[in-house]
């Protein structure tokens, strides 16, 4: 796929795939096109050309809510909680698609109860146990990030997209985050992780795609990426072309 903004090609002829239970890391220096790629998949930007297939069905061009309905949920780099709701309701919004249209009667009440229990489990899973009724305004930045993850998981995703999840977190929180992401992949969910921080990503990812200037410059196992001179150049900038 490709994306152009006016005369600038942000992502050009990028080609990659993610499989179930796999953590695919995507790294690159600032401006490499990571976020653009992310927004193309999540439906926030329309692509200029190309195709994205999920389950053999095309995805490109769908609005974000329909992409979510297909089982692709995301977190935001800058936490975007629903401020007016307690933690558990934030998580329940993530489960929106699973409610059907029932509003009245026993069936809808049972569903609500079932989803509420599930939301509590997820809150526990990400490490916010005991905070289900807390006002989201009282959460720390790191806790807010964990809430983003619980909310996305509530949608029973088959692919989860992480937009720079390590950004702004303390070292202790990073270990916890890595553990959660491994746990998610272990459930058979495909994980696409877009990350700036190589030290966080390389030990975690099963496979890594490296972007620079909107193009893929490497694709392989984390160990291969570490030894790849093109990647090191891109990060250290020694051979980066100057305008």
């Amino acid at each position: 796929m490709s994306k152009r903004f006016g005369g600038l090609t942000a992502v050009s002829e990028l080609d990659f795939e993610v499989r179930e239970g796999e953590i695919l890391g995507m790294i690159g220096p600032n401006g490499a096109g990571k976020s653009t790629t992310f927004n193309l998949i999540a439906g926030s930007y329309p692509a200029s050309s190309g195709e994205v297939f999920f389950d053999q069905k095309p995805l490109l061009g769908l609005p974000p809510h329909r992409i979510a309905a297909r089982g692709i949920l995301r977190t935001f780099q800058h936490n975007r909680p629903f401020e007016g709701m307690p933690v558990i309701d934030n998580v329940l919004v993530g489960a929106h698609r699973s409610f059907g249209v029932d509003l009245f009667g026993r069936k809808s009440k049972n569903k609500e109860h079932e989803k509420r229990l599930r939301a509590e489990e997820l809150i526990e899973f990400v490490g916010l146990g005991g905070m289900a009724q807390a006002d989201v305004g009282t959460l720390s930045f790191g806790q807010g990030r964990l809430l983003e993850i619980a909310r996305a998981l509530a949608g029973e995703p088959r692919l989860i997209l992480f937009d720079e999840p390590a950004a702004g977190l303390a070292p202790a929180e990073l270990d916890r985050l890595a553990e959660i992401i491994r746990g998610i992949a272990a459930r058979g969910i495909a994980v696409l992780l877009i990350e700036h921080d190589m030290h966080f990503l390389l030990p975690l990812a099963h496979r890594v795609v490296v972007l620079n200037f909107g193009a893929k410059i490497a694709d392989g196992l984390p160990d291969d990426i570490r030894r790849n001179p093109a990647v090191m150049d891109a990060y250290l900038g020694s051979h980066a072309p100057h305008p």
């Binding site: 926030s44 809510h65 935001f76 709701m85 993530g94 929106h96 509003l103 009245f104 609500e112």
Partner: protein, 297 residues
Amino acid sequence: MLAGAAFLLGDYHNDVYRKMLLWVTLAIGYNFLFGICGQVSFSHFAFYGIGAYSVVILLFHFHVPLPLAIVLGVAVCVVVALAVAIPSTRLEGFYLALATLALAQLFVVLLNEGGEITGGTGGIANYRLPAIFGMQMRGPWYTAVIVFVLLMTYATLRRLDHSWFGRACRAVRDNPEAAAAMGINVARTKVIAFTLTSALAGVAGMVYAFVDNTVNPPIFGLENAFLLLFMVIVGGSGRHAGAAIGAVLLFLLPFWLSPLVGHHHVLVFGVLMLAAILLQPKGLIGIWDRLGTRFSR
């Protein structure tokens, strides 16, 4: 209990009581739209008028039987609401506010210019509620009908609020982009909330039509749209109880203030409104909550 009170009140107080109940009905509906779904609309009171005029015109101009007139009246509200909401929710920001402001103004113009059908500036008067199952609903019994409509409106809104739909509305209000990423169709959620609350306002208007047995343009003026907004903000936006308290307070305030300050009570409203926004954005219900937590400690 709400209905029982009607049997203890005299005619004058019954009339005040009925109108207060109708304001509460309107305010809790508007609270759902503005406070819970975050849509700034100025047409809520116009839909009250559309409901009132529709049922009167259908009954006495077209001689439609009452049950059918009610159904058709709701249908008119739904069609008008969809016609306003669908184009304006596709646009960003305050276009809904502008479109609904235009609708509210246009409605009053249409009432004045409606000739024989709307009765022009004088409106329509001297009609009476047809008998229901051979019974004439009068006096406190009609107040009981209003109480019933209020309770049904409240039950509907409360159920919606405590469901996935209410959460979706709050999510759309708090962060539309994140709501969409969670699979919520933002535009559709807004349109449904707008249409539903507008139809509920229409139903309240139908009931109102037989309170004074007259409908005329000045009753449905634009200033009422702002009064509704005041009620919800002063009482506590996003909370049913807050909207109800705000409605009761701002409805009754002129009765207490008028003997003291005449028409300057509007000024007092303005001050209250400012005080609410600056000092207590959660409204009176927010103060109540704080008192509650203080005493429970």
